[in-house]
Amino acid sequence: MTNPSARSPEERVAFLEAKARDVRRAIVEMVHSAQSGHCGGSLSAADFVTALYFDLMDIDPAEPRKPDRDRFVLSKGHACPVWYAALALRGYFPVEELSTLRRNDSRLQGHPVATYLPGVDATSGSLGLGFGQALGMALDARLSGRTNTVWAVLGDGELDEGVVWETAAQAAKYRLDNLVAIVDRNNLQNDGRADDILPMEPIDRKFESFNWRVLEMDGHDMRQVLATLEKARERTGKPTCVIARTVKGKGVSFMEDKREWHGKPPSDEERRRACEEIEGRTE
């Protein structure tokens, strides 16, 4: 991959927008192939995950365990199709393997498992507990004198878990400014609106009151995503929370902001329509 900094800002954005379309198509294909999995929360996170994997993170697919690599923890582990898609397209493993999602003998488990796949450093799937692992990784980086950033992606529904706030307090205690939590604020969880199921607003003030620095962005505007996440990794003496305002199912009109697409696989016809939309072949 060309060094992102060698590109003009416009080229960076155009490149990432194209990559995000590839990631989205892979998500839909993968969940269709498995006939099981989570499209909605994968698609809402697709743009910022693409920006991290194809531009911002210091990683090397040829050396997936290099010690000073940036770490990525998908604390909302059910959205692993977006992670698997990004990893495969970035060259960590063959793209063809994506069709083995959730099958016996596959490295692409229903929720991600550390050590099964190159590039996956943390097991997740039980909400709230990937975040704590990310905190441990940030402590480990500091102890080892490494300067890498640890990126954790949380769902907004995940904030319901009490352990999230244990971790938030612990990270602030140690002023882990190498830790960035991105909250995928799509306002939908399994049973309905996040704001209805267990209201957590004001999320920004909650994190601020835990002594975190809080940034916000439109999670689907690649310019904003790049600018905000670049700022997020600056060292300021505090951990950083980025609230990404997103739309669940983004990029596929009939999935967008629909509760039922949290964990439903597309039919053959829905897959076809979704891929056409993502590739821009329909109006």
Partner: protein
């Protein structure tokens, strides 16, 4: 010959060894959840503050943090009370420590009713069931200073997660300081021919005292200390039963899903039809009170072990 009093509780002995080892091993870290003055992890924290993390009264988040700290191979010791580490943090232990097989070592104090005075909320009486059930987990239960010190080295040197069951109170010393221990090993602090008393942790001390009571009446009891519960020393039990032909299991834990169930299933699988009895909590919670009195009340003391062994020996004939 009765056992000498313990110099320290096992929770302290293991931590003394940890602090010693920290002098030459700079790689490991220690986590606690605000009971460092009880687990004695503060001894490490005072000496090595940069490698000690007191993460607050937040056992679940602490266990998740341990998994993150261990993700690149670092060894992490997590100290606390058994009730919290094996229940509140159980899911993190299972899914994020055992599943990816990380080097997280759990030093779990207040086992069984050894925390009798604190009451049921502080008595880990189901911990072995939870921990031994988890794939990839090694489970150790030392009974005295020598075995607790050895448990530190076994935990550090055994790849993957290790759970060490520790006790609140100083009891007795069973082993000489130079005794060696191994994962999957056992010791026989008393040899005998009439009945095998299989046990671990503080029950080893009660069993040794029971063996002395039994000796006075001409019954020769063998005490088999299965300080390594998982994996455990099947060969030693087989050899012992070849000689004694009767098995009594004593554990400071629920009878269900502990050492007794494990050994009973092994006997069935291996066609060992021997008189068998189990001492432990009989599907009941204990209560607060003095340790010795609580053991007596729930049938876990030397007298109860001797009584049950006597009945078993009678059933052989």
């Amino acid at each position: 010959m009765s056992l000498p009093p313990a110099k320290a509780p096992t929770r302290r002995a293991i931590m003394d060894r940890l602090v010693e080892a920290a002098r030459e091993d700079r790689s490991f870290v220690v986590l606690d959840s605000d009971i460092g003055y009880s687990t004695y992890s503060y001894l490490f924290g005072d000496a090595y503050p940069d490698r000690y993390f007191n993460l607050g009264i937040a056992e679940l988040g602490t266990m998740a943090a341990a998994a993150g700290l261990a993700a690149d191979g670092r060894t992490v010791f997590v100290c606390g009370y058994g009730v919290f580490l094996t229940m509140r943090a159980l899911e993190a232990v299972r899914s994020f420590v055992c599943y990816p097989r990380l080097n997280v070592k759990i030093f779990s104090s207040h086992a069984g009713v050894t925390a009798a005075i604190d009451g049921v909320t502080h008595q880990a009486t189901e911990d072995l069931a939870f921990m031994a059930t988890l794939p990839n987990m090694t489970v150790l239960a030392p009974c005295d200073s020598a075995s607790a010190r050895a448990a530190f080295d076994l935990a550090r040197n055994t790849p993957g997660p290790v759970f060490v069951r520790l006790m609140r109170d100083p009891l007795k010393e069973v082993y000489a300081p130079e005794t060696t221990f191994r994962v999957g090993g056992s010791h026989t602090p008393r040899r005998g021919d009439d009945v095998t008393i299989a046990c671990l942790g503080d029950m080893v001390i009660q069993a040794v005292e029971a063996a002395e009571l039994l000796a006075a009446e001409g019954i020769s009891a063998e005490v088999l200390d299965l300080y390594s519960l998982k994996p455990w020393d099947e060969a030693a039990l087989a050899k012992s039963l070849d000689r004694t032909g009767a098995l009594l299991v004593a554990e400071n834990h629920q009878r269900r899903n502990g050492l007794g169930y494990e050994l009973a299933a092994w006997c069935m699988r291996n066609g060992r039809s021997v008189p068998f009895a189990q001492l432990g909590l009989a599907d009941t919670f204990a209560e607060s009170g003095a340790y010795a009195k609580t053991l007596e009340k729930f049938g876990l003391d030397a007298a109860a072990i001797a009584r049950t062994a006597r009945d078993l020996v009678a059933r052989k004939n």
